[in-house]
C-alpha cells in the first residue's frame, strides 16, 4: 500500500524548471532512495513533500493528505532532517527538543517521554546540557535527527543525513534508520551522495537528473533500466579458442560479448544463471580458461553513467 504518492510534481523558480512533472509512489514501511547529481532536483522534491515550498503544479498525497490542501495534516505526520542542520546556538539539546515538541503539540508528559526516548536512542545524554554552538558536527546531526523524529512521523524525509559525518557516526545513523523503520514501520525517503549507503539501505530508488525522473524501481530494475549489467571476465588459455565462443550468445540472460586477444568480457542480466551454462559449454568445447571473475554492476556505476549522459553499457 502506497503511503506517498507523488503526482506530476513540478517546481519552477522563474524561468528555471527545477522539477519537471515527476511521479512515483512509496510503499508504507519502505526505505526509498532518491538519487541524482548536484542540482538534479532531489532536495527541491523533498522540500515540496515536506511542505517547505509549494509546487508550481501537480501535488503529492501523504497518508491520504494532499500537501497543498491539507498542509497542516501533512506536517503533523512527517519529519524532515537535512545535512548541516542548525538550531538556536545558545540552546541545549533538551531545550531544542522541548521547543519543537511544543510546536508539534505534544503535552508535557508526552514531551518528557519522547525526549527521554530520543536522548537514549541517539546517545545524546553525555552532551545534552551543552550549547548547540559548542557541539561537534556529529553531535549536531544527532540532535537534528532526534528533532525530526519528535512527532513520531509516519514519513521521514532525510536529505543527505550523513553528509560531513565520520564513518562511525554515519554507521550509527544508518543503524538508527533501519531500527526506526523496523520498530515503528516508518516510511523513509532518503537522498544521499553516498551511493553505497543508498544501495545498503534502500529497496527501491528513483533517479532524478536535471529535474526529470529517469527511472524508478528496485536497484536491479534501475541498473537494467539504464542498461547496466553485471560483467563476467575470463582469460582464454589459447587465443584460437575465441572462435569457439559463439554458443555464449545463445545462453539466456546474455547481453554482450567482447573478445580482445585472450581476454573475454561477457555482460549478462543475471550472471548466476549464465555462469553454469557458460562453464559447461566451455568444457564441452574443450576450451580452457583462467581468471574467471564476476563484477557486479554497482549503483555507483549506473549513477556515473547517468550523469555522463549514457544509458547503454556496450
Amino acid at each position: 500500500m502506497s503511503i506517498v504518492q507523488v503526482l506530476k510534481l513540478e517546481k519552477s523558480f522563474g524561468d528555471f524548471k527545477a522539477v519537471n512533472k515527476i511521479s512515483f509512489e512509496v510503499e508504507k514501511g519502505e526505505i526509498f532512495g532518491v538519487l541524482g547529481p548536484n542540482g538534479a532536483g532531489k532536495s527541491t522534491t523533498l522540500n515540496m513533500l515536506a511542505t517547505l515550498i509549494e509546487p508550481t503544479s501537480g501535488t503529492a498525497v501523504i497518508n491520504g493528505f494532499d500537501i497543498k490542501k491539507d498542509t497542516k495534516k501533512v506536517q503533523e505526520i512527517i519529519g524532515l532532517c537535512t545535512s548541516s542542520t542548525k538550531f538556536f546556538w545558545d540552546f541545549n539539546a533538551i531545550e531544542i527538543l522541548n521547543y519543537y515538541a511544543m510546536l508539534y503539540d505534544l503535552d508535557s508528559g508526552a514531551r518528557k517521554r519522547r525526549i527521554a526516548s530520543l536522548i537514549e536512542r541517539f546517545e545524546i545524554s553525555e552532551f545534552q546540557n551543552k550549547k548547540f554552538a559548542e557541539l561537534s558536527t556529529g553531535m549536531k546531526q544527532k540532535i537534528a535527527l532526534a528533532k525530526s523524529l519528535i512527532n513520531k512521523p509516519k514519513v521521514w524525509f532525510l536529505d543527505e543525513p550523513t553528509n560531513g559525518l565520520d564513518l562511525e557516526v554515519s554507521k550509527t545513523v544508518r543503524k538508527v534508520i533501519r531500527d526506526i523503520v523496523k520498530e515503528e514501520n516508518t516510511t523513509v525517503l532518503l537522498t544521499s551522495h553516498h551511493l553505497s549507503e543508498v544501495e545498503e539501505l534502500s529497496k527501491r530508488i528513483a533517479l532524478i537528473n536535471k529535474g526529470e525522473l529517469v527511472v524508478v524501481g528496485s536497484i536491479k530494475q534501475v541498473k537494467d533500466g539504464l542498461n547496466f549489467f553485471d560483467t563476467i571476465y575470463f582469460t582464454l588459455a589459447k587465443q584460437s579458442d575465441a572462435s569457439q565462443l559463439e554458443f555464449i550468445k545463445k545462453i539466456e540472460g546474455f547481453e554482450y560479448i567482447r573478445v580482445e586477444e585472450t581476454r573475454v568480457l561477457v555482460r549478462a542480466r543475471s550472471p548466476q544463471k549464465l555462469i553454469g551454462k557458460l562453464i559447461n559449454g566451455l568444457e564441452n568445447k574443450n576450451v580452457k580458461i583462467y581468471d574467471l571473475e564476476i563484477k557486479r554492476a554497482s549503483l555507483e556505476d549506473a549513477f556515473l553513467k547517468l550523469i555522463k549522459g549514457g544509458s547503454g553499457s556496450k
Binding site: L52, F91, Y100, L103
Partner: protein, 259 residues
C-alpha cells in the same frame, strides 16, 4: 487548537531572554535610558506653569514608546531568532499555525513590556515623583492599543522579511521612526502640521498615548482609549492577513529557502 503550540513560541522567547546577549537590554536598559533622559529634560523645563503638562507628556511618551517597541520586538524577533540561527525551515514545516505564532510571541511581548513598565514605574516614582497609574483604568485601554498595534507592525515587518529577505529588517527602525514622529509621542497633536495630523489620527499609538496623557491631566473621556483598541484590532487583523499571504508567497517563490 490547543495552547501548547502557542506556548512553544513563548517558550523560545523566554529562553532567549536568559541566553541571548542583548535581550535584557530591551527590558532593563533602553526603557531606563529613555526615562532618565526624559526625566532630566523635564526637570530642565520645569519651573513654569506648563511644567506639569510638559512632565506628563514626556513621561507618558517614554512609558508608551517603550511598551510599543517591546510589543513589536516580540513579534519581529519571533522570526528573526529563527533567521539568525538558520532554522526557519523547521518552523515552516511544523504544524503550529499563524495564530499560535501571534499568541505565543504576543504573550511574550506583553510580559516583557509589563516587566519594563514596572521597572520604569518604580524609577519614575522614586526619582521624579511621577506616578503613571494616576491615569486610572484608561491606562489599560491605552496599553492594549499600543500592544495590538506593536504586534501588527511586527507582523508587517516579518512579512517584508519573508518576501524580500532578512536584510530588510532595518525597515523596522524606519517604520518606528515615522510612527514616533507622527504619533505625537512627546508633544501635543496640535503641534503637528495638518497633513501629518491626518496620518496621526489613523494610528492607534496616537490615540493610546493621548488617552493616557489626558487621563493624567484630568480628562475623563474613554473615547481615545477605545479608539486605540479598535484601531489596534483592525491593524492586527489586516497585518495577520498580510503575514499569512507573505508566508504562502515565500513558499511559492522559494524565498523562504534563502532565510
Amino acid at each position: 487548537m490547543t495552547l501548547t503550540q502557542a506556548k512553544g513560541h513563548f517558550y523560545k522567547q523566554y529562553l532567549k531572554l536568559f541566553k541571548a546577549a542583548g535581550e535584557w537590554e530591551f527590558i532593563l536598559v533602553y526603557p531606563l535610558v529613555h526615562l532618565f533622559s526624559m526625566g532630566f529634560l523635564s526637570a530642565f523645563v520645569s519651573g513654569t506653569d506648563t511644567a506639569r503638562v510638559a512632565l506628563t507628556y514626556m513621561f507618558v511618551g517614554a512609558f508608551s514608546w517603550n511598551f510599543y517597541v517591546l510589543a513589536q520586538k516580540g513579534i519581529t524577533y519571533g522570526i528573526l531568532h529563527e533567521i539568525w540561527s538558520d532554522s526557519v525551515k523547521h518552523l515552516a514545516t511544523a504544524p503550529a499555525g499563524i495564530i499560535d505564532f501571534i499568541i505565543g510571541n504576543g504573550a511574550y511581548s506583553l510580559l516583557s513590556g509589563l516587566m519594563a513598565w514596572l521597572l520604569m514605574y518604580l524609577c519614575a516614582k522614586i526619582f521624579f515623583a511621577f506616578d503613571i497609574f494616576t491615569a486610572g483604568p484608561v491606562l489599560a485601554l491605552g496599553l492594549i492599543g499600543l500592544w495590538l498595534y506593536g504586534m501588527a507592525e511586527g507582523l508587517i515587518v516579518n512579512a517584508i522579511m519573508l518576501l524580500k529577505g532578512p536584510e530588510y529588517m532595518s525597515i523596522t527602525w524606519i517604520i518606528t521612526g515615522i510612527v514616533m514622529v507622527t504619533s505625537a509621542v512627546y508633544y501635543p497633536l496640535s503641534i503637528l502640521p495638518e497633513p501629518i495630523r491626518t496620518v496621526a489620527s489613523i494610528l492607534p499609538t496616537t490615540h493610546a498615548i493621548e488617552s493616557i496623557r489626558q487621563a493624567i491631566l484630568g480628562g475623563n473621556s474613554v473615547t481615545p482609549g477605545i479608539n486605540a483598541v479598535l484601531l489596534g484590532i483592525a491593524y492586527l487583523l489586516v497585518a495577520s492577513f498580510v503575514f499569512s499571504k507573505a508566508l504562502t508567497r515565500s513558499k511559492q517563490n522559494g524565498t523562504i529557502l534563502r532565510l
